[in-house]
């Protein structure tokens, strides 16, 4: 589904990603962990097509196409979804309007009929149950005045509505209390199928009790320095990042 080869990227002239290799197959869940500033969000941003990041080397294949050639909207229409670490507030645009515009944009891209307001509302109300969100959030401006946890749930609601093939969840667990974490994680699990895949960026092993990854990667200073199974997360939780920081090259076969 996704193949990242020797990806280098910079922001404002500073190299942040220094040769990322990563392969994600349908049905897999990959966790990415790593210290603050190591480049996790940068990787997510590059994949989603954020223009401030300049790719200087390497390539990314997504479902057989050169991902880097697609504009951000086309990437989303092709099934890629980024749950933002810091969801953006959009005053003056209601959540319903935004969700409907997004869903219909994707449907239009695939030559499918657009939803009318009635059918859309039925769909979104169904999806809201998945993240236990109150329908009153539909009429509020996108993320404006939402608490940290509400914003994260709203990201997963969008994911549920758009039904992506590849989801990148950037610290969706940060700022969630234990109940919210359980709700969000169970939402993500319910959306997971053998045909789609997820990359989950997190600082906490705790999340991985709920969303069980097939692989765990450690990103340090712009490189994946170690990959393993879910037990790697426990090692990191227990020992911190110091013991992997010095690893120059990946020690395990990069998957």
């Amino acid at each position: 589904m996704l193949e990242i080869r020797n990806l280098h990227a910079r922001v404002e002239g500073k190299e942040i990603l220094k040769g990322i290799n990563l392969t994600v197959n349908p049905g897999e869940i990959h966790a990415i962990m790593g210290p603050n500033g190591s480049g996790k969000s940068t990787l997510a941003g590059v994949l989603a097509g954020r223009e401030i990041y300049e790719v200087t080397e390497g390539e990314v294949l997504y479902r057989g196409q050169n991902l880097l050639e697609l504009d951000p909207a086309a990437r989303a229409c092709e099934g890629m979804f980024l749950a933002f670490q810091y969801p953006v507030e959009i005053p003056g645009v209601s959540n319903t309007y935004f969700l409907k515009a997004a869903l219909n944009a994707v449907r239009k891209y695939h030559g499918e009929e657009e939803y009318d307001s009635f059918d859309f509302l039925a769909l979104v109300k169904e999806k809201m149950k998945l993240v236990e969100m109150d329908p009153s959030f539909l009429n509020r401006p996108v993320n404006e005045g939402f608490s940290g946890g509400e914003k994260k749930r709203n990201e997963i609601l969008q994911m549920a509505v758009l039904n992506p093939l590849l989801s990148i969840l950037d610290e969706t667990d940060s700022g969630l209390d234990i109940d919210a974490l359980r709700i969000v994680a169970s939402g993500v699990n319910k959306l997971h199928t053998p045909d789609n895949a997820a990359i989950v960026v997190t600082h906490y092993q705790r999340l991985l009790d709920y969303i069980v990854p097939d692989f765990v990667h450690v990103l340090v200073n712009g490189r994946i320095v170690k990959s393993g199974d879910k037990d790697l997360a426990f090692d990191l939780e227990a020992q911190g990042y110091d013991w992997v920081k010095d690893l120059e090259e990946p020690t395990a076969e990069t998957v």
Binding site: G49, R50, A73, G92, V93, F98, L162
Partner: protein, 443 residues
């Protein structure tokens, strides 16, 4: 044609106009017209050297010969044409004006609610039935505004609307001005006289539409008076042809505890100059001046507002929002005068602008003239661009750049529409605003 020649043209038109008046030239108001013409001839059109006019170049307007249109036949098809171009104003009886002429036979005169009196201005003037205050206002105001002087010299077409004491009118009144391409280049000087008496409440929507490509000069003046405790919601939907010139001047006085709100939606015309001069003349009076303007192409839109706090304990709120695309230019002047006796004045003003291109330009100037000491006056102006984080958020959900940009600029501008107190008008106006903005983003 240079400026002198254009003045001469209007003087010649006045001679013909005067001759056509027959008995009307004997009316009391005709002396005011003559005085106004004299004044206009002395002043001429404003130039960039006039402080209040310095950001708007009227050469394209003064360089074109506009002549009054013929009065159209009262054909029901005109109403159909007008409504096809206009934004629907639900539940609002329509008074139709075509090429500057009040078409009573095509208007919903029978549906005017009880408590409102509508009169054809021409006959009201000929019969000396115009409220004297209006004539006095006219005489006083044209001293400072050559366009108002010109309108006053030619004042005949228009309407006088009186809302009777204590009348509370739910249905807004819709004044729809259609300008046709075949009649151009024509000039019209419509005059709207609105008198909302003590304790009365109503809404009035002025809407201007023109056929695509129509060239004309709409020189409109409104004289608006609110009695004690009166309320007027005044909505202006300016959706003229983009080849037209529109100059508006609104003179408003608000008595004790009165509440005047002006809600201006500026979409059309090649050059727009809209002036609102509001005087809060009785304690406890309030005025709101909100507006949004969304020029595209090479449109030029100049908003000049004055709020005069003449007495104590009055409040005013003003917010103008511009979304400027392409090679457009916008101007906002917000003058707030607080007279020495106007203690406890509370005045808030803001002007926020969104530039969609590198070549769009906005000049914004707050002008506070405060002569009292115990007052609260705040003002702020911002000029910004589309927020990249917000844009990327929408893109990342599959919404393409044009639609995403449009969603964000619409959210910015429609804030003004959401404050129109007549809820039934908002959806239609929002739809039109959205489609207009879409044109700016399609390119």
């Amino acid at each position: 044609m240079n400026r002198e020649e254009s003045i001469q043209t209007y003087q010649e038109q006045f001679a013909a106009f005067e001759a056509s008046l027959n008995g009307g030239a004997q009316s009391a108001f005709h002396a005011v017209r003559r005085d106004a013409l004299q004044r206009f001839a002395e002043q001429g059109f404003p130039t960039l050297r006039d402080e209040d006019w310095r950001y708007t170049n009227f050469n394209p307007l003064t360089g074109t010969t506009f002549t009054p249109a013929e009065r159209p036949e009262a054909d029901a098809a005109l109403r159909v044409t007008a409504e096809a171009l206009a934004t629907a104003m639900p539940n609002a009886p329509t008074l139709l004006f075509v090429d500057g002429y009040f078409m009573q036979g095509l208007s919903d005169l029978a549906q005017i609610p009880e408590g409102i009196e509508v009169r054809d201005l021409a006959s009201a003037l000929d019969d000396n039935a115009l409220p004297l205050e209006s004539a006095a206002t006219a005489a006083a105001t044209f001293r400072h505004n050559p366009f108002t002087a010109l309108n006053t010299a030619f004042t005949r077409q228009g309407v006088s609307v009186t809302v009777r004491r204590n009348a509370v009118i739910e249905q807004p009144l819709h004044l729809l001005f259609l300008s046709r391409a075949a009649a151009g280049p024509f000039v019209a000087h419509p005059r709207i006289v609105i008198d909302v008496q003590e304790n009365a409440q109503c809404g009035i929507v002025e809407q201007y539409v023109g056929e695509a490509g129509a060239v004309y000069f709409n020189n409109v003046v409104s004289d608006i008076r609110l009695g004690e405790n009166a309320v007027l919601h005044h909505v202006v939907m300016q959706d003229e042809s983009t080849a037209a010139y529109h100059v508006g001047a609104n003179y408003v006085s608000v008595a004790r505890a009165g509440n005047y709100g002006n809600h201006y939606i500026g979409l059309g015309s090649s050059i727009l100059r809209n002036g609102i001069h509001g005087v809060l003349s009785g304690e406890g009076a309030h005025c709101t001046m909100n507006g949004t303007f969304v020029p595209g192409g090479t449109q030029h839109m100049d908003h000049f507002t004055v709020i005069d706090h003449a007495v104590a304990h009055c409040t005013s709120h003003e917010q103008y929002k511009g979304v400027l695309a392409d090679e457009t230019r916008g101007v906002f002047t917000g003058k707030i005068i607080v007279r020495p006796d106007a203690q406890k004045t509370d005045a808030k003003q803001s002007n926020n602008n969104l530039l969609l291109s590198e070549t769009a330009q906005i000049d914004t100037r707050p002008q506070l003239e405060i002569f009292a000491d115990d007052v609260k006056c705040t003002h702020g102006a911002t000029v910004g661009r589309i927020n990249d984080d917000q844009l990327f958020y929408l893109l990342s959900r599959g919404i393409d750049r044009a639609q995403a940009g449009n969603i964000l600029s619409f959210a910015f501008a429609s804030d003004i529409v959401s404050r129109i107190p007549i809820a039934s008008l908002r959806d239609g106006i929002n739809d039109r605003l959205y489609r207009r903005l879409e044109e700016s983003w399609k390119k």
